[in-house]
Symmetry: C2
Amino acid sequence: MKLSEKKRLAILDAAEALFYKSGVEHTSMDQIAAQAGASKRTVYNHFATKDELFHAILARMLANINNDEVISFDQNTAIEQQLTAIAEQEVRLLTSANFLRIAKIAFMQMLLQPELAQSLANNSMGCMRYLEPFLQDANSAGVLDIDEVDVAAKQFVYQLKSFVFYPLLYGFESAKHQQPELVIKQTVALFLARYKAA
Amino acid sequence: MKLSEKKRLAILDAAEALFYKSGVEHTSMDQIAAQAGASKRTVYNHFATKDELFHAILARMLANINNDEVISFDQNTAIEQQLTAIAEQEVRLLTSANFLRIAKIAFMQMLLQPELAQSLANNSMGCMRYLEPFLQDANSAGVLDIDEVDVAAKQFVYQLKSFVFYPLLYGFESAKHQQPELVIKQTVALFLARYKAA
DNA sequence: GAAAAACTACACTCAATAGTTTACTTTACG
DNA sequence: CGTAAAGTAAACTATTGAGTGTAGTTTTTC
């Protein structure tokens, strides 16, 4: 790899780590340069402004996230098992260091810049990419009985986010770990109690 | 009211509004003084540092929140109706301008200062003050059938927060209003499907 | 191996902002 | 009314941090 590329990556890595630790506002370009092992001038040669650097990080992180396999409804597998698989995948995403890092950085900025929230909200992630079609198919197959598929999908995902993601994001319960398996079990149970076809 | 008290309130009001709009970091003490109609020196006579002012605001807001009536389980009223009442009260809290203001200010800081998150997390608010005993009583009366009351209480409240609070907090869906009645109906329905005693 | 591109150290400008000092005016109150 | 408490305006200090300019060194590329 060329030196120029190595520096660029080092700068992105350094900025990401510092933004995560201290927030964008509390991180100076001098700190970033120092942590990256680059001169400040080099930082500015790669990224004209701090804001440009911030958006480059956001873009890189978003690109690294959506890699999970799409799960489609399968007539021949128990619905409980399929929903559990989806939940497991989602919990893995929501609790990954990668995702938490981007989330914390992004959420901080979103509270300050509503327009950023808008643009990120449209970017649907994780199982929200495919959950509605999945539920629709299960509906058609007579396995589930859902009136409003969009609401049901949100109910499912929001349970997971509320139990595993937000507590980690905000640092509630730093010591007491939520048992992911328990959360998944409870979420699937709640969902099926409501929507499993009679 | 004495001038001194009036100034103190004006400063708190101004700081609250500005912290809400721009975040604590992006609000200067000069701005606060100007908006409060006070001299900067007066601001510093009331609050020695910006941080002290921030905590004074937090304290005032917290004091203004927990005022809602506690709802206790009533043997003679349908459980659906009682849960709906609780949900309505909670949604009113979660969508009130007051609560959203403190939440936005506090959440921003929480992302930066995990220890603040710890101290605020303990401060349980809204219906979380009384929901677990309520469910326990309903359990004992044979109206509900819940294994883990703490999990169930969270499931209930998290639904409401996810649908009405977080979207407003982060400015997702600024235009498209979530219908609060619909959210309440769906939440109660989901909960009772799972936990209503046979 | 030489020209071009990229990196470095470091001094610099410029603006913002927390908090202070001072000299003076207004308000509260016995 | 007179004194003490509180408020005011405005200049001031000191620091921080974004971004630039420069002169010289290293890396890439042809």
